[in-house]
């Protein structure tokens, strides 16, 4: 048992300090206002302070921190994308994640499990090869493997999928990991708080003041805040914020759902994704199977659950793992995903001076938390986006220069 836990047994008073201050009312002005106290917003606040020395920062969260998609995703981290831009970006995120528990001194249970994207059709195999080739090119560990290797890693998997969709192969991505999602938000919140950033929960932005094309302040339910720089990091709520500054974007909201079983002893070590069967699944350190599927098929600004989702998902889970028939689903839930036409985020500057966008995270935002925080902090500090996120700029749509992730996003988790 680690010695660090001894103090809890020995001290009379609980020796752990607050993670973050409990602040009620924001100051009159800040250098930077970050809208959204999820992983991304909090990471941006953390790196603004750590990398750029900017600490006069307010993070405004209308609910509680990490209560949006940070706390609703299935906590998968990977970088096996299709385009070199995507792979480089997510790889940078994976590298930060690998040392993040130590950096934040909070155990994020960053657990490297290996990630199989199963292919059931020849065309899926082609896409796997494409991704593997691009990944290898930029130095990311992804390879196409055959059924034997999959069966060896996961002997419980029915390789024929009940005869419905025999597995032809997979893309195996060794660095694929899962993490404790809440911890990521809390760790960054604590880090940002210690540097002096101020986090306000239950604080909702009502409007954003723009004069002569420049941001000059935000109105909240707790008063007006003067600021020249505003970052929107509000996955699922982006269109409501961009509407405040009359900014058009391609983002539409589709719910993404997930569900979890009761705990069982560990048996599934890898993360498995099947595009054809629309399933992704891993087993958490608590022993629950955490499962998701594809996006809900229509736009709705709700986090409601549907029966269709869980029926479809479990039916396909049984194709893969027939022995789960009597394992029980405990809970299902939903999040709201910012979807873009090319399945890549929208990051960086906008036509409005001082208004920065960290959006369009669709179903892949959690894995990008550290690197999005870092690059958005750099964008704000320098009023210029780093090269790493150049291809994610908003203007790519007007330029007809969409990113090529579309091909890999059938189930893009």
């Amino acid at each position: 048992m680690p010695l660090r836990l001894l103090k809890y047994a020995l001290k009379k008073e609980h020796p752990a300090p607050r993670f973050f201050k409990s602040l009620e009312t924001p100051k009159k002005s800040y250098d930077v206002v970050i809208i959204g106290g999820g992983g991304h917003g909090l990471a941006a606040a953390y790196y603004l302070a750590k990398d750029h020395g900017i600490t006069n920062v307010a993070v405004l969260e209308k609910g509680y921190i990490g209560g949006g998609n940070t706390g609703r995703n299935t906590a998968i981290v990977r970088s096996n994308y299709l385009t070199p831009e995507g792979v480089n970006f997510y790889d940078a995120s994976v590298k930060i994640y690998e040392g993040l528990s130590e950096e934040l001194d909070l155990n994020l249970f960053y657990s490297t499990r290996g990630h199989f994207t199963l292919a059931h059709t020849e065309s899926a195999m082609r896409t796997m090869r494409w991704r593997a080739e691009v990944n290898k090119h930029v130095g990311v560990d992804s390879v196409v493997v055959g059924p034997d290797e999959i069966a060896k890693a996961c002997p419980e998997l029915d390789m024929s999928c009940s005869g419905q969709a025999p597995i032809l192969g997979a893309l195996f991505h060794a660095p694929g990991s899962i993490a404790r999602h809440d911890g990521v938000a809390w760790g960054y919140a604590r880090g940002a708080d210690r540097y002096g950033a101020e986090i306000f929960q239950n604080t909702e932005v009502l409007s954003i003041d723009v004069k002569n094309g420049k941001v000059c302040g935000v109105k909240t339910n707790k008063g007006y805040i003067e600021t020249k720089q505003v970052l929107s990091a509000v996955a699922g709520f982006t269109p409501r914020i961009t509407e405040m500054v009359d900014l058009e974007t391609p983002i539409v909201i589709h719910p993404l759902q997930a569900c979890v079983t009761e705990p069982m002893k560990p048996w599934l070590n890898n993360i498995l994704v099947s595009g054809s069967l629309h399933v992704y699944v891993s087993q958490s350190s608590r022993g629950e199977l955490v499962m998701g599927s594809s996006l809900d098929p229509y736009e709705v600004h709700q986090t409601r659950s549907t029966l269709d989702f869980v029926e479809g998902l479990t039916s396909h889970m049984l194709d893969m793992f027939p022995f789960l028939s009597n394992v029980k689903i405990v809970r299902q839930w939903g999040g709201m995903a910012d979807m873009t036409p090319d399945f890549a985020p929208i990051m960086g500057k906008t036509p409005i001076e001082g208004f920065y966008l960290d959006a369009g995270w669709g179903t892949w935002g959690f894995k990008a938390t550290p690197i999005s925080g870092k690059t958005m902090a750099a964008t704000i500090a320098n009023d210029s986006a780093p090269d790493l996120i150049h291809s994610f700029r908003l203007s790519r749509f007007e330029d007809y220069e969409l990113t090529g992730e579309k091909g890999a996003a059938s189930v893009g988790h």
Partner: protein, 969 residues
């Protein structure tokens, strides 16, 4: 020794049938109708499970279908719930999550080191140094989890049903039964469900010595069961509420998806434990659990019990205990003053000692911790909610029944979007804004008195009737009178803790206090940090107390704390039920059986099963494909193309429709000719292509690829809705079978079955003719997709097997052989045709594949035209080129999606590649940078092994045309 008592009225047992089973290796006997928990408790087995975190011994807590302390395995199934699963002959049961058995669980040491494991401990350690984390993680993962999954458990295919009713009543207690009866009397079709094996709810067990309650229940049940308009389903729970009153009802046999016009939620309330040190010992149970043991299973909960109560309910429990032959040592009431009304008076009369203003400071365990041996009692300050432990004393007992109050079973109401407010009169959340068509009654509505509950049921029925358009007068709204059924703060702080709030997750009061100290002081953050309510019982016995504790910590009224979001499922629901039978529809052509009989290997394309190739014995896939392709080049081959999309566009505006929908020109297209069609989306990206054949001025016959056909047709329908042209669209994909006979002998073979003039002059390439082939009316199209000498025959689906057979027969002497879709891919490549979806991706525009020739920019409009005009001004980023490898190439063969590498940069990728035996070269398509597009340019492909292979850009087709002179080729 046995806790079994004489038969109680309406017990759930069949005493005629004894059931033998084993638990942890020991043999026991119960009765049919027992649950595992009741049978074990009857046998005085108290340690039935171990807790999730500290591995503390646990027994019966609630017996209310969420008693997760008793989770078992029978070797086949796992995480079986002892309070739900009925006993069966020969069961061999063990508790889950123990090492060495439930009594001597080796992991029980964790309980003694619990100070080392404060709330959220796993966030605070094990991560430094980083390299050791996998070691710790392994230990933690193994310690976590409950049962072990059996990989040989059979796949269970449960049926699913749909059902409709006017009114669905959830909960067949006195409230629900009354509501159902009232509504049915007024003419509604009513279904009433209850998760328990028998209806009646609390009327069945909450008797407090009142013998009449049994008769009352009988009467009510009789009325309901006999009513022709009421269906009663027991052992059936409502798993969740989904929009538009969709409620999946789960039974052993499967799920029934109810769609009700109105819903009455009469789901009652969960009894909540008071929180004191060692309130989790086996033998400490909820008052209602004790009552259920007595009246459902005729089992007494203990011999000498203490009742600790914080409401009047505990007094009722005490009477039931006495009636069951249990000695009641004392009733300890957290509240001061005289409480309990008539029941208290009766207890006095029966000589029971009552301690108002007192609490159980802690329960005392027997030396082996398997049971209770006593309780430390002291005065309780009900204002400050602290124990005044100075004058504590000990009472001996072997069990404690607890009654502190209730939490509404409101999950479905929350999921339906009900607004709830905290009612201090009953100390619980009650609905104050119900969604349309959803009604609440009884305990879930804050009504506890039996007569009041019945009236509330009638009131809800009248509300539902009015919602459904019946004219009935509003019924009076009930309001709770008298002392609150729930205590505002039934917690007893203790310096040494182990006063459990959440029994699933072993969470104590101090865990909440410490979580708040660390900043997790709103309910959602607290839930996530402490994991309260996240275990298998989903907070049914813990969420309300957690809210109270947080309110206390923050000195806020309870309603300011709010509740966490309620999500399906109400009870954990098996994957087999939810997944059901599974449904994998696929489409077969009319010739499918023939392919199968001839050894075809099938591939899935869209919804279709297509023959990919026909492997000969001892030959590889590659050999089969090359042989089939050679047949097409040297003699003849035939492919079943029935899965192609086939759409008729009929009407005066048919050509105009195509003009707008596709990129080319169709107004000028001659009747009898065929033209290439290319479909773009609004952003100018290539979607699909195909062939449009003009059969008449006002009739086009369109054939398109298999996988996109449904989507293309759908988009055509949408465009027609917008454009409102004078046309009709008919999808004849399933009406016509299609086959393509190709190769030098194709004409001769076909000629033997038709009178049609097949000379190249009268039937050139890219033309269509209607003719009789093998006695069947056919549309014959000369398309040059796989060969210049090819005929595509479209015949009624039902006759396609006949025509196919005739062609096969006629082709025998010419060496005709069938070929599959994999071979077709090679053949079209040899011909130099690119394929959407193979040689394009989700962003490819027509300029990048050299399809400018297919685009008529000077027409008024087509889909994607305006975007193309923008793209035309922009530099090309990539270009699809045909290429060959060196003629003597025999190294590491590149594969599709291998990258084109220029220096150290990705310069493109291979989209198609194959060795062609006919050409004796490796040929393919690749995207390259525009600088490399000229014929003769060389570029490098990196193979899987990392070696670089040089490719040379060439012209298409890859081989000289077979009929060079022909016009229109």
């Amino acid at each position: 020794m046995s806790f079994r008592i004489p038969k109680q009225a309406r017990e759930w047992l069949n005493r005629d049938k004894k059931i033998n089973f084993t638990f942890e290796g020991e043999t026991f006997t119960g009765f049919e109708g027992d649950t595992i928990s009741s049978a074990l408790w009857a046998a005085e087995q108290k340690v039935l499970g171990r807790s999730f975190k500290y591995h503390r011994p646990r027994g019966v807590l609630s017996l209310a279908n969420h008693d997760i302390n008793v989770m078992l395995t029978d070797g086949t199934d796992t995480n079986m719930r002892g309070d739900i699963v009925e006993l069966k002959e020969g069961m061999s049961l063990n508790a889950v999550n123990t090492i060495g058995g439930v009594k001597k669980d080796k992991n029980s040491y964790i309980d003694s080191i619990s100070p080392l494991l404060p709330v959220g401990f796993y966030y605070k350690a094990f991560h430094t140094p980083r390299r050791l984390f996998p070691f710790w993680e392994n230990i933690i993962r193994k310690a976590a989890g409950l049962g072990v999954v059996n990989f040989n458990y059979p796949r269970i295919l449960k049926r699913k049903q749909h059902a409709h009713c006017d009114l669905l009543v959830i909960g067949a207690g006195p409230t629900g039964l009354t509501a159902a009866y009232e509504a049915a009397q007024a003419g509604l079709e009513v279904t009433i469900i209850d998760e328990n094996r028998h209806a009646g709810g609390s009327l069945g067990y909450n008797r407090a010595g009142d013998k009449a309650s049994v008769e009352y229940l009988d009467d009510l049940l009789n009325k309901v069961v006999r009513h022709p308009k009421i269906t009663l389903r027991t052992d059936a729970y409502a798993a969740g509420y989904y929009p538009d009153h969709l409620i999946p009802v789960v039974e052993a046999g499967g799920i029934t998806k109810f769609r009700a016009k109105a819903v009455i939620v009469a789901s009652g309330a969960f009894e909540q434990p008071p929180v004191f040190r060692y309130n989790d010992l086996p033998g400490v149970m909820l008052g209602s659990a004790a009552q259920r043991l007595i009246y459902r299973y005729s089992v007494k909960p203990f011999n000498n019990g203490i009742v600790v109560t914080a409401n009047d309910y505990g007094y009722r429990v005490a009477i039931d205990l006495l009636d069951a032959g249990t000695k009641v040592v004392a009733v300890v009431d957290l509240r001061s003053g005289s409480n309990g009304g008539l029941h208290a008076a009766e207890l006095y009369r029966r000589g029971i000692k009552i301690y108002p203003g007192h609490c159980v400071y802690e329960a005392l365990a027997t030396s082996d911790k398997s049971s209770v041996r006593g309780a430390v009692i002291c005065a309780y300050d009900d204002k400050e909610n602290i124990a005044l432990a100075a004058n504590k004393f000990t009472l001996e007992c072997d069990g404690i029944a607890m009654s502190a109050g209730w939490a509404p079973a409101a999950a479905l109401l929350y999921q339906a979007g009900t607004g709830m407010q905290f009612d201090y009169g009953v100390q619980q959340f009650v609905p104050n804004r119900l969604p349309e068509g959803v009604f609440a009654a009884g305990k879930v509505n804050g009504i506890y008195d039996l007569d009041q509950r019945m009236r509330d049921g009638i009131r809800a029925a009248s509300d539902a009737l009015r919602h459904l358009g019946h004219s009935v007068a509003p019924y009076a709204i009930e309001k709770h009178n008298g002392p609150s059924p729930s205590h505002a703060y039934p917690m007893v702080p203790h310096a040494k803790g182990k006063n459990f709030v959440d029994f699933d997750e072993d969470i104590q009061i101090k865990d909440f206090e410490n979580a708040a100290k660390e900043g997790f002081d709103n309910i959602e953050l607290m839930k996530r940090f402490t994991t309260v309510g996240m275990g298998p019982s989903q907070g049914k016995h813990s969420n309300m107390n957690a809210i109270r504790i947080l309110a206390k910590i923050r000195s806020l009224p309870v309603e300011k704390i709010g509740t966490t979001t309620s999500r399906p499922f109400f009870h954990p629901t098996p994957i087999g039920h939810l997944g059901g039978r599974g449904f994998h529809p696929h489409r077969l052509t009319a010739i499918h059986d023939w392919h199968q009989a001839h050894g075809a290997v099938f591939t899935d394309i869209g919804a279709w099963k297509r023959a990919a190739y026909y492997p000969a014995a001892n030959h590889s896939k590659e050999d089969a494909i090359q042989a089939e392709a050679m047949a097409v080049r040297k003699s003849a081959g035939i492919i079943d193309a029935s899965s192609f999309g086939k759409i008729e566009i009929y009407g005066p505006d048919a050509a105009e429709f195509l003009e707008r929908f596709f990129t080319g020109s169709y107004i000028s297209q001659k009747v009898g000719s065929c033209r290439y069609v290319l479909l773009l989306d609004e952003s100018g990206v290539v979607v699909d292509d195909g062939i449009a054949s003009r059969l008449a001025t006002d009739l086009f016959y369109l054939s398109i690829g298999t996988s996109n056909a449904a989507a293309v047709y759908r988009e055509m329908q949408r465009s027609q809705q917008e454009w409102q042209l004078n046309i009709a669209l008919v999808n004849v994909t399933g009406a016509y079978g299609a086959m393509n006979i190709a190769g030098p002998s194709a004409r001769e073979i076909l000629a033997s079955l038709t009178d049609l003039d097949l000379s190249y002059e009268s039937f050139p390439i890219s033309h269509i003719q209607e003719a009789v082939v093998a006695g069947v009316e056919a549309r014959v199209i000369r398309v040059a997709f796989v060969s210049d000498m090819a005929y595509e025959l479209h015949v009624p689906m039902a006759q396609s097997q006949h025509v196919w057979n005739a062609l096969i027969e006629a082709g025998k002497k010419h060496g005709l052989r069938p070929f599959g879709s994999d071979t077709q891919r090679l053949l079209r490549l040899e011909m130099g045709h690119h394929m959407p979806g193979i040689d394009t991706d989700g962003l490819t525009n027509p300029f990048e594949i050299g399809a400018e020739w297919a685009i008529k920019m000077d027409k008024p409009y087509f889909i994607g035209q305006r975007s193309l005009s923008i793209l035309a001004k922009r530099p090309l980023r990539k270009q699809l080129v045909p290429f060959v490898l060196a003629s003597n190439f025999n190294a590491d063969m590149p594969m599709e999606c291998n990258l084109v590498i220029d220096g150290n940069e990705i310069a493109g990728r291979v989209t198609s590649i194959s060795y062609s035996k006919f050409i004796d070269r490796c040929i393919g398509f690749a995207f390259v940078t525009p600088a490399k597009k000229a014929v003769g340019s060389e570029f490098q492909i990196r193979t899987d092994s990392g070696s670089l292979v040089t490719a040379t850009v060439v012209e298409t087709p890859f081989f000289k045309n077979q009929i060079k002179s022909q016009k229109g080729a």
